[in-house]
Subunit: 143 residues, 2 copies
DNA sequence: GCGAAATCCTGAATGAGTCAAGAAACGGGC
DNA sequence: GCCCGTTTCTTGACTCATTCAGGATTTCGC
């Protein structure tokens, strides 16, 4: 994906096209599930003088527009990804915190229907699987 | 539930029975989905001189033992509940942050099976429904 | 190009949560 | 019922992701 594509995405969401935003979008695309610090580093490879504040603002704007998705498993800092709108979920490693994508197990949005919603109007279901990643399994069994 | 019951729970989990722990357990039981500050306040009604550190330590010990469950939706502080082991999930209001329980929509632990686990060994699936609570719906429609 | 509005920068503040070291409490064994 | 080793609690300081504020720049419709 080139910068032109990112600009398209931004314009399509009625967002102003600024260099920090394009760079943030690129950084998030190339670093799935990255935390803010990693994104900041990646953005500075493209645009050395961005402030961390601009990155926070951009991420907030992109999240609000639905272009990026913010995920934050318990005990972790915020992480971001650009794969949105396809109903996929995440596995998180309890020991190292790494995250991987998981397509929804049971077809299309079955988990979206709560049996008793207590009067809430539900618009999204988020699933987080907790477990141990292959690396950590190997590390533990070799002890 | 009386303190004797809480003591039983603690002993059953091979945890030492201390007054802060009993008080924390009581506070979490009576304040479902409460954040740490609320729990601290409730604990101090029973035991005025507990330190906040003792509450953090107790919550960590109880969580590790599986007696309480820690939940932390994105953008929220940590919250705790005592209803564990029954595969229920949560609805979170996007505008006020309130949380309600939801029994699993599709029977027993269906969401526990990821379609492709990327080599992860999954031991738990956590589902968070995002939406708007009745109060916030009313507040928004009356604007 | 021009100007209003949005966005970005610099720099400081917030606050949930953690760390550390010594004091006190728990509970198994006598 | 008391002792002792270990766990837990207290006090107090500290970390660090994230947010807030005010002024300077940039964007984009006209």
């Amino acid at each position: 994906m080139g910068n032109a594509d990112y600009e398209q995405l931004l314009r399509g969401a009625s967002l102003r096209v600024t260099r920090p935003r394009v760079a943030v979008l690129g950084a998030v695309t190339e670093n799935a599930h990255a935390d803010t610090e990693t994104i900041l580093g990646a953005v500075r490879e493209r645009l050395p003088d961005v402030s961390h504040q601009a990155v926070y603002d951009s991420l907030a704007a992109l999240s609000a527009a639905g272009i990026v998705r913010r995920i934050q498993p318990s005990g972790s800092v915020a992480r971001y990804e650009t794969r949105v709108g396809d109903n996929h979920h995440h596995v998180v490693c309890r020991s190292c915190g790494s995250i991987a994508d998981v397509d929804c197990a049971v077809g299309h949005a079955p988990c979206l229907t709560a049996s008793d919603d207590n009067g809430f109007v539900v618009d999204e279901a988020e699933v987080i699987y907790w477990g141990t990643c292959p690396q950590c399994q190997a590390a533990q069994s070799s002890k």
